[in-house]
Structures are given as structure tokens and as C-alpha cells.
Symmetry: C2
Subunit: 195 residues, 2 copies
Amino acid sequence: MKEELKKMLLGFPMLTEEEMQLILDSSDVRAYKKGSMLLREGEVAKNCYSVLKGMVREYVVVDGEEKTTNFYTEGQPVNAFTSATSQTSSKVNWVCSERCVLAVGTESLEEEMCRLIPKLEGIIRKEVERYTGETQDELAFFMTSTPEQRYLRLIEKRPDLYHRAPQHQIASYLGITPESLSRIRKRIFSKKAVN
Amino acid sequence: MKEELKKMLLGFPMLTEEEMQLILDSSDVRAYKKGSMLLREGEVAKNCYSVLKGMVREYVVVDGEEKTTNFYTEGQPVNAFTSATSQTSSKVNWVCSERCVLAVGTESLEEEMCRLIPKLEGIIRKEVERYTGETQDELAFFMTSTPEQRYLRLIEKRPDLYHRAPQHQIASYLGITPESLSRIRKRIFSKKAVN
């Protein structure tokens, strides 16, 4: 299972062969069944994850209804910073919505790795900054876009989601009802048919 | 003007007197007139800021209309991670919507400071993680809340904004029209009057 982690590490050319092997040896890679809960609302997030294979869905329960707030797929980190860093109850749930292979991270593992490979500190920092930028961009986009614009961006940037997640979860992720999603799709399809 | 920075640094008790003085001496604190543009859409973000006094508004122009995506006030960092770290065009604008006193940060200043005070590296990292958590929470909340819930949260968490920003900017920040904001306020007011 560590093959997937190795593939991901190849994306960091600043790591030597030895360093990569050290990470592979120390890392904790696990397989999860579809439906496994990684974090429940109210718990403190002890682990973070990196998706090597599969998909993790993040959701919040509002008035008894699941609202999807994220889909994490191959290459993405799954991290609840507020809960993990300030040891507070998580507001979100994480469920494996496919069979998953995940690298499991803990604070102590990260510290140990950074002690063994000091340059990891800088690499992790850059990754956190990149992730923070993406989250900022997502927020600004969500605040200023129409549901149709969100749909168009989703099929452009993450076309795989469309085949991996059921429609009602996609709709919820876009902040609309399944009926609205269906109307948007029809409208776009008929525009394309005209052009 | 560095008095405000000193006050902020007192929030980090792990810094010694000498380290605090070193930061104060090396820091770049500037005053800005109301209306000063700190970043324009399309530019690469070279600086980040820390608001010591005043308010910076972040907005995106959509179909000729300014949509407010953030208000940064005292104690908050103003940072466009994607633009700054990957040297790409910023999607947002930053304007001083009040007279401001800001600590101006650049990558080289940060590197120099971390060289002088190595523990700063860890402090900055924790701050970035805290900020990332807040941005994640904001995004999940915005995706799953009604405009009324967003309004209630705003007056609970950031009551000062209500007096510092014009209504149309507040409305835009909540993702609604000024008319909807006015209706929400009336509804809440009449509920309170009944109870």
C-alpha cells in the first residue's frame, strides 16, 4: 500500500532517495472500508490524513440533514486545523465514501519526522500555505458566485467528482437542492445544443 | 506608531523582552489614508499585512459590482497566500476602508526575522494554522448557513463591523442584497419584540 505514498512523494524532488525511504518506513498507511467514519462532529481531531486512494466526504448535519462541505480525493490533505490545534470539538464529520488508502498523520509523528529530516519543516509549511490559499480562494469564490458558476467550475476543475458522488451530495456541496442542480444542467445542456 | 505592534506582541508570552525589541526595531509599520489600495486584482501580492489599527476591506469585482469577501480589523492578518506563494495574479482587491496603521511583511523580512529569532518560525506556523482553521470554518459555515444565520453570527462575533461598514457592504459580505438584509433585521427585531 505504500506504493501510492511513494508516488506522492515523487512530487517533492527536494527529497533524496534516503529521505524518501525514511518517510516510507516511518509512515502509517492504512486501508479503510467504504463508510468508515474518520471523524465525528463533537470529537477532537487527533489525526490528519492524506488521501492516497479513494474519497473522503466532509459534511455537517443541519436540522437532521447532511450538508456536504468537501470531497477529498487523491493527493489532498484532510485536516481540521481548528479542532486539532486548539483541541476543540470538530464541527464536521469525515466519512470514507469509497474504499480508501490513507496516510495517517499525528502531531507526534510529524514532529518525529521533522526531527529526522529537518527540511520537512519547510516542505510542510509550504504545503500548509498552499492549502490555506486554496481555502481562501474557495471561500471568496463561493461567496461571490452563482450556483451555475459553481457548477461550471466544479465540472471544469474536478470532473471526476461527478461520477464518484451521488447527485444529492454534489447539489448540497454547491449549496442548492437536487432539483436546482437538475435545472442548471438542463439549462447548460440546452445552451450548448443551440451553439 | 509601533506602540500598537508592541501591544500585539504582548499576546506572545514566549517572546523575551529582547526578542520583542528586535522585532519592533526590524518591523515596518506604516500609516495609510482611507481609500489606499494595498492590492489590486491582477497584481501579484508582494506584501502581507497585520492590522494594528483600522480596517481593510477585501472585495472582488463581479459584473462591474464590488462584492465584499472580507473585513480585516485590529489583530487580523491580511494575506493572499495563493498569489504570494505561487506568484500568480491576485483575484481580490484590498482597500483601507478607514485610516489604517499596518505592519507590512515581506518574505525576505520574515526570513531575516526567523534567522534572528529562530523560535519565530514555530510561532508563525501556529498562527498560519490557526488562520487556516478559521478560514476552513468560515467556508463550511458559509456553505451550510442561511443568510439569517450568517447575519446573527456576524452581530455576535463581530459586532463592531456593523458600525464600521456601510450596509450595502455588509449585505454583500453576507451574500445578499441590502433589501434582504433590511428584511432580516426587521424580522429579528419583531421576533425580539414579541418575546
